[in-house]
Symmetry: C2
Subunit: 80 residues, 2 copies
Amino acid sequence: MKARVTVTLKTGVLDPQGKAIEGALKSLGIEGVESVRQGKVFDIELAGADRARAEDALKAACEKLLANTVIENFRVEIGG
Amino acid sequence: MKARVTVTLKTGVLDPQGKAIEGALKSLGIEGVESVRQGKVFDIELAGADRARAEDALKAACEKLLANTVIENFRVEIGG
């Protein structure tokens, strides 16, 4: 079973990396960029076919390792 | 207009960071993880309401800066 976990910074948390990318895009002449926030994505392959169990395992993975829940939100999507 | 750009490693490209995360998840007792690949996500706020133009700008941004197209794929999703 495939799953995707997306980890993004919470609103209000400063993102200097995103700011730097925004500046770089502007200096490259890409027009219309108002803001950039960078996050992480994890494509995870899981054994078994129990979606509920997979979701629980992935939530535990996010809380223990993949996301810093003080400053980051995470989202778990389970595919086919 | 909001857009999300997802950059992931192409199939076959080694991902030592993903491997390290996979090992860490196993040692934390998260069961059923077969593989992990890490990528990047960019949440971009764009001026204007022309979707086609926004998509062109974002593709240019990916090719010039956000993705290394030799080893990475990118995907552009334009929201509301």
